[in-house]
Assembly symmetry: C2
Homo-oligomer: 402 residues x 2
């Protein structure tokens, strides 16, 4: 007998028919002889509707009260899913985040899971019940309700799977797995049977939008096998795990991320430690910096360019302008008309020709590269946003064929 | 400094504007130098909407899961009310039933409050916070969420007021107090400044629909002063307490209850204990019996008539028919076209003419009385339902003038 954790997102339980569909999938897994824990998000637009209600009353409501409000959404969906499973005649119990033992820190709206007290969960599993757990939520040390922020339900599912040593954590989504590129852009995109945690992390952070990094990082940390599957079709998905059977594939996928803005600090003094000063200023304010380019300018001056998320652009510029006297730069430029296109694959570290192949494909298509960044398992380029779809298509074709 | 508990029902917080209205009333009380605990119900139709969602999925859902579902409604309204009070600049915190320490038995959907662990509540009050508590809910010994059933939020408010020894428990409703009769029926109905617990209990059970009996019984038990007030107008309401200043009023009010059905068991043997047998059968099934009439029939036979709530009529008849051989009656008759009209007042025990005055008024109006029941502080008559409004009007006129 295996223990399987299944996570269903808000669109999978958006209405009564979809709740019944999820219930029947859960019951199938249970009747096949497995113990099943199900993590579920709030139904469809519930969270957005609750946010609208709050904004109408107080657009600056405290995060504590927002978490109190929003956590009701998952409470509704766990109860409805439990009722649907009752209808199918299986023993079931729903548990809120606090009932399921989710202990978090007090960082309301973006709390970190400190631990899961699994006593209740395991007791219900021992009684052969299907256990439905509210994702996205927990309680802090004062028993106040917290929410986990973006990707919270995925993280809840992986955290439970890790805590109770589940055999697998299945993440059900709108898509049926992880593809070599976004199938909406690239017709020939292929579904991957397997992918490593590290590859998945790069793809997620690069805009593949299938799994959130927090959940993949946690799965990697506890070596918990993930499977990304379709909520609607009963077919195999993509398994995410530490080591995968070697496939003759240089790269795992091509991703695109339009949420990038570039900042160039022009005319910095060419002295040691200047880059450190710049980036420590930004990291103190929790602004993540990505692709970095440093170039020598004229007269012992240098320029530093880097990218940030668009939401952080304004704050980053303000921080740098505020330190103009210390940093002694001449001017700051920025642009928002960029896209980051990346190839990801654990195989590329041993194949130095991979980056060249990508650059050649872009050159042949007449696409200009503004900045380049590489790691052991990825190559990213910044290009004009209007060329991004085309770039994904031709790079994908170069590696995977048309 | 006083501690005041204020309870607002679902219609008082039905939309953003009404939530802000409640918030400003709460803040007024707080700024006048009082400690304030607010108990609030789910917004407007929220509970009904949730019930509809559940029924669409499983009309026979377990009561545990229904309680999990429905308790989300108050969680939404406490968060929204707290946000509204934050907007008005006062310190505030919302607490769910379990956070506020409500411990109940495990009778899902109709749980009884066993105790309130007031530690958290009192700590928040000590920190000068306005405390918003979700009414209608608690947790059982397994930390599973329970709801308190009809009148639950009133009961929550009185329970808190009793537990923390509040100076007053204010129940805000659509009406501005307790009247000598339903103002929608009787134009000359007068608002009462004061009423005793016992009088209020009789009026509530007789269909006055202002306070639920459970809350009044609890207030009487702990001698907690209640005040029924308007959510919308800032005027004095009606105070409910143990002893009231003597007013020269024989009766406190006239009430009507259309939720009555009569059952007559015809041709029972005239032997000792037969009434006991009949009513113990019904009480075993939790069917409450009200107005009882026993009459001697022909040939050592007797008839017993009594009333039940309409919802219990079918089951009561089935129980009695099932015991036909034991009870040895001839036949059962029933009718549903009745109404119970009652006068209530602690003064009537010393004024034997009160009942006669009521009967005379009904006789003068040509209204036929089917059954009569009396207690120390009330007189009830069963009459045809189509005469009920008229009866309330003429009885009210007889005691209070036109």
């Amino acid at each position: 007998m295996s223990i399987i954790v299944q996570k269903f997102g808000g669109s999978s339980v958006a209405d009564a028919a979809k709740v019944m569909n999820v219930a029947s999938r859960v019951v199938d897994t249970y009747k096949a002889g497995n113990s099943v824990v199900v993590v579920v998000s709030a139904q469809g637009d519930t969270t957005d509707d609750l946010i609208d209600k709050a904004k109408e009353i107080n657009p600056n409501a405290s995060k504590r009260e927002m978490d109190m409000l929003l956590s009701s959404g998952e409470q509704i969906s766990i109860a409805l899913l439990a009722m649907a499973i009752e209808k199918l005649g299986c023993p079931v119990i729903s548990l809120t985040g606090w009932q399921a033992g989710f202990k978090t820190n007090s960082n309301y709206s973006n709390a970190r899971i400190d631990k899961i007290d699994t006593e209740r969960l395991l007791a219900e599993i021992d009684q052969k019940k299907i256990v439905i757990v509210a994702g996205f939520q927990g309680v802090n040390r004062y028993d106040d309700i917290t929410t986990l922020g973006r990707g919270g339900s995925d993280t809840s599912a992986v955290a439970i799977a890790s805590a109770i040593h589940a055999d697998k954590c299945e993440i059900y989504t709108d898509v049926d797995g992880v593809y070599t590129a976004d199938p909406r852009i690239v017709k020939g995109a292929k579904k991957l049977n397997e992918i490593t945690y590290d590859e998945m992390l790069e793809l997620a952070s690069l805009g593949a939008n299938v799994l959130h990094n927090r959940s993949v990082e946690m799965a990697k940390k506890y070596n918990t096998a993930l499977e990304v599957k379709s909520s609607f079709e009963k077919i195999d998905g993509t398994v995410v795990q530490e080591v995968i059977k070697m496939e003759k594939m240089l790269i795992r996928g091509v991703a695109r991320d339009n949420d990038v803005a570039s900042i160039s600090i022009v005319g910095l003094p060419d002295t040691p430690g200047i880059a450190f000063k710049v980036f420590s200023l930004l990291s103190k304010k929790s602004i993540n910096v990505d692709v970095i380019l440093q170039s020598i300018g004229r007269e012992n001056k240098k320029d530093i360019s880097f990218t940030v998320q668009k939401a952080h652009l304004e704050e980053a510029i303000a921080i740098l302008e505020g330190a103009k006297e210390t940093l002694e730069f001449e001017t700051i430029k920025h642009r928002e008309d960029l896209s980051k296109v990346s190839i990801v694959g654990a195989g590329m570290v041993n194949n130095p020709g991979v980056a060249a192949k990508m650059f050649e494909a872009l050159y042949n298509a007449g696409i200009n590269i503004h900045m380049i960044s590489t790691s052991e398992i990825k190559v990213s380029v910044l290009i004009n946003v209007e060329k991004a779809e085309k770039a994904v298509q031709i790079v994908h074709e170069a590696f995977f064929g048309a």
